[in-house]
């Protein structure tokens, strides 16, 4: 009996994770696959039973949000997709072992840049995650990553940078020239997991110095 090749039904089954929002995605090998339906199952690594993901049974879209089901960031998970074509052909493919702690990427932080006459204040707002603590409150990235810190850079007339950084959320670049434009970039770093967010960028101009006018 020669096993039928069904790789065209289903490919690239994998997790995409950002700030612990864990989305399962896959592709169909065919250019258009109107008559194929997909069903998703998941389980913890080390457990025997596969659990059907409600809301992702016999769907036609090629993604499924498994954030809640894979919400324990200390755990390891697998997910698998079964594709079924109208003609009765089917294929099942599994993800690699998934750990949101290892795989999640970090989005740019949310920052408010406040220009003053000779300084620019930057306030970093906490980033919440979908992960809930025992008491139900949502954990922030800082709660999850104990060594998370912020790194702020201010580009000064294209020749050098000013750097500030740390765990606190309120920073101020001082000793600046009034009425001058500066480019600020703010990133999140998690050293032990070698994670670095894309930068939040703000272009601000210090206020004119009314005292001398």
């Amino acid at each position: 009996h020669i096993a039928e090749d069904t790789s065209d039904l289903l490919q690239h089954v994998k997790f995409q994770s950002s700030n612990f929002e864990n989305i399962l995605t896959w592709d169909s090998g065919l250019d258009s696959a109107p008559d194929i339906v997909y069903s998703v199952e998941y389980k913890k690594y080390g457990e025997r039973e596969w659990l059907a993901k409600e809301g992702c049974q016999r769907i036609t879209r090629k993604s499924c949000n498994l954030t809640m089901e894979t919400g324990n960031f200390m755990e390891f998970y697998y997910a698998r997709v079964t594709a079924l074509s109208a003609g009765g052909r089917s294929a099942t493919k599994m993800t690699d072992r998934f750990s949101s702690l290892q795989h999640t990427t970090i989005k740019p932080p949310d920052v408010t840049c406040i220009p003053k006459v000779r300084s620019i204040q930057m306030i970093v707002h906490p980033t919440s995650t979908p992960i809930r603590a025992g008491d139900g409150h949502r954990l922030s990235l800082e709660d999850v990553f104990s060594d998370l810190f912020y790194r702020l850079e201010l580009q000064v007339n294209h020749t050098y940078q000013m750097h500030l950084g740390g765990k606190q959320r309120d920073y101020e670049f001082t000793g600046l020239t009034p009425d001058t434009e500066f480019l600020g970039t703010i990133m999140i770093f998690v050293p032990t997991w070698s994670k670095e967010s894309a930068p939040y960028v703000c272009r601000v101009k210090t206020l004119p110095d009314r005292m001398w006018t």
Partner: protein, 155 residues
Amino acid sequence: GQEFQFGPCRVEGVVLQELWEAFRAMKDIVQAKDNITSVRLLRKEVLQNVSDTESCYLIRALLKFYLNTVFKNSLDKAADSRIRKSFSTLANNFFVIASKLQPSQEKEMFSTSESARRRFLLFQRAFQQLDIQAAQTKAFGEVDILLTWMEKFYQ
């Protein structure tokens, strides 16, 4: 600089990010070879709620097992040069850590060391219940579970 602090046992000169980098380079290859997804060797009962004083005994037993049993037979089969290089990084750094761990042998620490030994035996028995080849592949693929746990003691 950063170091490991397993209770009273301090270990310097190992950069945890270098171990992660080495494991990440081979993770998907190694874990893809482990198709027994229903068995996990480093289960919660082995690693959860380990006291600081217990941690030195446990990490020493685990690292020695990895060095003597898991790694020892894995490199022969590692034809892929990426794996050989990453493997060598992990093995040699595990060797550095293990050689610097000197847990106390005093009598009053007996209950702590016994507790660590029971945890280790849970792991070892699960390992021995599998075919040796499958067990080595699974243990090798669970290095990220071990590193995640070790991270708590890296300051």
